[in-house]
């Protein structure tokens, strides 16, 4: 059927001209919108077309200089200077200059806001950009560094950049030319002016649109795509077994941490013992195997996902008492904390009302609904009734945002440093009273101690100090348990190397296998035709 039909015997010549075919499972159709500021830009806009100054690779925890070759913070931590790479050209042949970077941040702040800590962005010369900060903020390096840069000379001329669809984009990325665009597929061709032409091994990229996982999985199973970055059920059987020689997958646990979040403003969840007991009662092994098809691993005591592997305090990792399932301990803790079990096996709150609560989850997230069902079954074993309520996501989120919920499931932030992660989880600055909308700290847990540690973190560039601070934060987390960690989200990624080789693997984790990640460009510039 498709031109992408592959088989092991495809001649090398064909592979050389073949397009790297990638499905996109959550877009039934594409719209021709390559505006990197748009939240709905076509896939690959910020991967193959627009590049950033640096790339953080969570799989290995390293940082790859990209459009910038080096960067340095001032001693007072209030300025950050990037030096741009020499000889980088936009796909229209214009050179990349520091003004482009400055202009990009101008646009970003205008269109999308954010970066409120930035005082100014100035191009001190053609290759140097200086960022000055209004306050201490060490995580800024990655936020700034991973910003996709747009050409000033092009965007200046656009009247309303927020509403521009940027149909023929100009970028510095390896594949910038839109050679064919249809609602269900489009292809990107080589950037004729790419700054590392010898990394453009493949002819181009072809994106396919699918209205759901099923279609994308079918295409993967059928061998129509080279890369399958979506969730594939029973991947060994549905995908790998059809061609074990060429098909592989790698699901590093480098995604966001997935948490069983409780509303800490509400009784009984304001009681840390309850949070711990709940955590002890749930069977993370089962959750992972049922809800996540065993594609990830249970969370550990740090509550940090695999992307913070280097930040984890190894001494803490297995030392807590609340991460393993222990029904007896959970029962004991609850008894002790004043939540007695009645004759019918049902626990009650200290005020005598039954210990029952709701778990809100969006109906479309089937994996999480499964998780919820397992949790519900687990909690029944300790005499707690948890009802799974699965309306539409918008209703769920509306509840989360205003604090009108009992419990739910959310992912945590996943930035290069754990700063944002702990900020959203424990900083009192992020806590909004119930009834007022918040977009990040749904659980509404705040700790002054945590805030103090976070402030210290923001104020230092020194990695060692930062690690110490994060160790303290981990300990604090373990004591307070602001949320109940379940498992780190895996980054789905499967591929078929019958046409292209050079994929990142567990042995060579130069990037993850995500197609929407900053590291994607690393893969695009590494793959070679077989």
């Amino acid at each position: 059927s498709g031109t992408a039909t592959t088989s092991a015997s495809t001649p090398a010549a064909d592979n050389a001209t073949a397009l790297l075919t990638i499905p996109r499972e959550d877009m039934g159709t594409f719209t021709r919108n390559f505006n990197p500021f748009s939240p709905n830009a076509a896939p690959m806009t910020t991967q193959a077309i627009h590049e950033s100054m640096l790339i953080y690779n969570p799989a290995a925890g390293n940082t790859v200089p990209w459009l910038a070759t080096e960067w340095a913070a001032s001693d007072d931590n209030r300025t950050l200077t990037f030096t741009l790479r020499d000889g980088v050209q936009w796909s229209d042949g214009e050179p990349l200059v520091a003004d482009d970077v400055a202009y990009t941040f101008e646009l970003q702040k205008e269109i999308m806001g954010g970066f409120e800590y930035l005082d100014s962005v100035t191009a001190s010369d053609a290759h140097t950009v200086v960022f000055t900060f209004s306050r201490d903020y060490s995580p800024a390096l990655y936020e700034i560094g991973q910003m996709p840069i747009v050409p000033k000379h092009v965007w200046e001329a656009i009247e309303d950049p927020a509403k521009a669809t940027n149909e023929t984009p100009v970028g510095t990325g390896p594949y910038t030319e839109i050679t064919n665009f249809a609602a269900q597929s489009f292809t990107l061709g080589k950037n004729p002016h790419y700054w590392q032409p010898d990394a453009q091994h493949i002819e181009g990229i072809k994106m396919l649109a699918f209205a759901g996982n099923d279609g994308a999985n079918l295409a993967a199973a059928n061998g129509d795509v080279d890369w399958a970055p979506q969730y594939i059920p029973n991947i060994e059987r549905t995908f790998i077994s059809r061609d074990p020689e060429h098909r592989h997958y790698w699901f590093p646990p480098t995604g966001s941490m997935i948490n069983f979040m409780v509303n800490t403003t509400k009784a009984p969840f304001n009681d840390v013992n309850v949070r711990k007991a709940l955590s002890m009662a749930i069977d993370r092994e089962q959750i992972v195997s049922v809800g996540m098809s065993g594609y990830t691993e249970p969370a550990d005591c740090t509550g940090l996902s695999g992307s913070y592997e280097t930040w984890k305090d190894a001494s803490l990792q297995d030392s807590c008492d609340w991460i393993e399932r222990d029904v007896d301990a959970a029962n004991a803790l609850l008894d002790e904390a004043g939540y007695p079990k009645g004759a019918d096996g049902q626990r009650t709150l200290p005020d005598g009302s039954p210990f029952t609560f709701d778990f809100s989850v969006g109906s479309t997230s089937s994996d999480w609904v499964s998780v919820a069902n397992v949790i519900s079954q687990n909690l029944a074993d300790v005499g707690i009734t948890m009802t799974v309520d699965a309306p539409d996501w918008s209703a769920v989120v509306a509840g989360y945002e205003t604090g009108d919920f009992d419990s739910g499931i959310v992912w945590s932030s996943n930035d290069p440093t754990p700063y944002q992660y702990y900020l959203n989880l424990m900083s009192p600055t992020k806590v909004k009273p119930v009834g007022e909308q918040t977009h990040d700290n749904y659980g509404r847990f705040g700790s002054a101690d945590a805030q103090a540690l976070l402030d210290q973190f923001a104020a230092t560039q020194d990695e060692e100090t930062q690690h110490e601070i994060v160790d303290d934060l981990q300990a604090l987390y373990g004591q307070e348990l602001p949320t109940i960690p379940l498992f780190p989200g895996p980054e789905w990624g499967a591929y078929n190397d019958s046409r292209f080789v050079g994929w990142p693997t567990a042995d060579d984790p130069y990037a993850t296998l995500g197609t929407r990640a900053p590291t994607t460009v690393l893969v695009l510039t590494t793959l070679e035709p077989r």
């Binding site: 059927s1 498709g2 031109t3 992408a4 397009l19 075919t21 959550d26 039934g28 159709t29 719209t31 021709r32 919108n33 748009s38 939240p39 709905n40 269109i111 999308m112 806001g113 954010g114 409120e116 927020a162 509403k163 669809t165 064919n180 249809a182 609602a183 269900q184 597929s185 292809t187 072809k206 396919l208 649109a209 699918f210 209205a211 759901g212 279609g215 079918l218 295409a219 199973a221 059928n222 129509d224 969006g362 479309t364 539409d392 996501w393 918008s394 209703a395 769920v396 989120v397 509306a398 945002e401 992912w411 932030s413 996943n414 930035d415 944002q420 918040t438 977009h439 990040d440 989200g489």
Partner: protein, 325 residues
């Protein structure tokens, strides 16, 4: 003509009711498109970015009635605004890129199902007790009893994946340039086959039975006996006398279905990854994309009304009796 004016008046009222319904529904739903978007993607946005987005999308916080007035105004002037889930693409463009496929798939399968179904119905009624009459109806009812998506997935699995006879997704081969080239048209046809076939399979039974039953009723009319007595050829009796009359109810249902074609075949689109407005609507609903949702609903409603009106006109041509009543 009076009859048609009356119908037209009714359609206007119906139109107003539907668009009003369409206005009310999404606004009673909790949440807003931005948090909706957040819930579905792991990209974290900071609070002020969210506020910024909300401003960008032009979410309205005027009183409901003011929104309603400007909504009606926009609707009358065909202004559909900008899609939120596909910001900043205009709604017209989003729909425009899909509607053709919807019409192709829906139209083809409807025409085939109606045509073949009705023909089978005619034959079955004419040859009462023949094999078409005794064998086909239960078989078609049985096939039609399966959940549509179930059949579609089965067909996709068997004919698309296992046997590889048909493409398993999309409306044409990826990478082809749409145009009138035989290659493109051929590709469109092969991609259309399986989705259309499954729709035809589940809907044909209804057409056939409906036609069969009206034909049987018509066949016992005196004018058929009279035509028989006149010594007319069977073909002439079947088509000119019996089918012409038995067709009338089928025309009405055809019109209704024709209008609904524009609504898209949501399940088909989902299973076969076929482009179309059905999925678009689902996505719009799930993304709380009011402008897109309202645009789609407007198009669908208008299409239904226009199709019905056309049927009224055709009906007047086909059935001289309604001209007076």
């Amino acid at each position: 003509m009076r009859y048609l004016t009356r119908r037209l008046g009714f359609y206007l009222v119906a139109f107003w009711v539907s668009v009003t319904l369409n206005f009310m529904l999404p606004r009673f739903m909790p949440g807003d498109p931005v948090s909706r978007m957040m819930a579905r993607s792991t990209n974290q946005l900071s609070s002020d970015q969210i506020v910024q987005l909300q401003r960008l999308f032009g979410l309205d916080d005027r009183p409901l009635w003011q929104q309603y007035v400007s909504y009606l105004d926009d609707m009358i002037h065909g202004r559909m605004g900008v899609s939120i889930s596909r910001f900043p693409t205009p709604v017209v463009e989003v729909i425009g890129s899909q509607i053709g496929w919807t019409l192709l798939l829906g139209g083809t399968s409807l025409v085939i199902a109606a045509l073949v179904g009705n023909l089978l119905g005619i034959v079955a009624a004419w040859r009462r007790g023949g094999w078409i009459d005794s064998f086909l109806p239960p078989v078609l009812i049985f096939v039609g009893s399966f959940p549509y998506f179930w059949l579609a997935m089965g067909a996709l699995w068997v004919f698309g994946l296992s046997l590889g006879w048909f493409p398993i997704r999309h409306a044409f081969d990826d990478g082809l340039q749409p145009g009138l080239s035989p290659e493109f048209l051929g590709s469109v046809a092969t991609h259309l086959f399986l989705p259309a076939l499954t729709i035809v399979l589940v809907s044909i039974g209804g057409w056939m039975l409906g036609m069969r039953n009206t034909m049987i009723a018509t066949n016992s009319e005196d004018y058929i006996t009279m035509a028989q007595a006149k010594g007319l050829r069977p073909s002439r009796i079947i088509f000119r006398y019996a089918a012409r009359n038995a067709m009338l109810p089928a025309v009405t249902s055809f019109g209704m279905s024709l209008g609904f074609v524009v609504g898209g075949a949501l399940l088909t689109e989902t299973v076969f990854a076929y482009p179309g407005v059905g999925y678009q609507l689902l996505a719009a609903v799930q993304g709380l994309d009011y402008p897109l949702m309202q645009g789609l609903f407007l198009i669908i409603t208008s299409a239904v009304l226009v199709a019905n009106f056309l049927v009224d006109i055709v009906y007047v041509r086909l059935d001289p009796r309604v001209r007076v009543s």
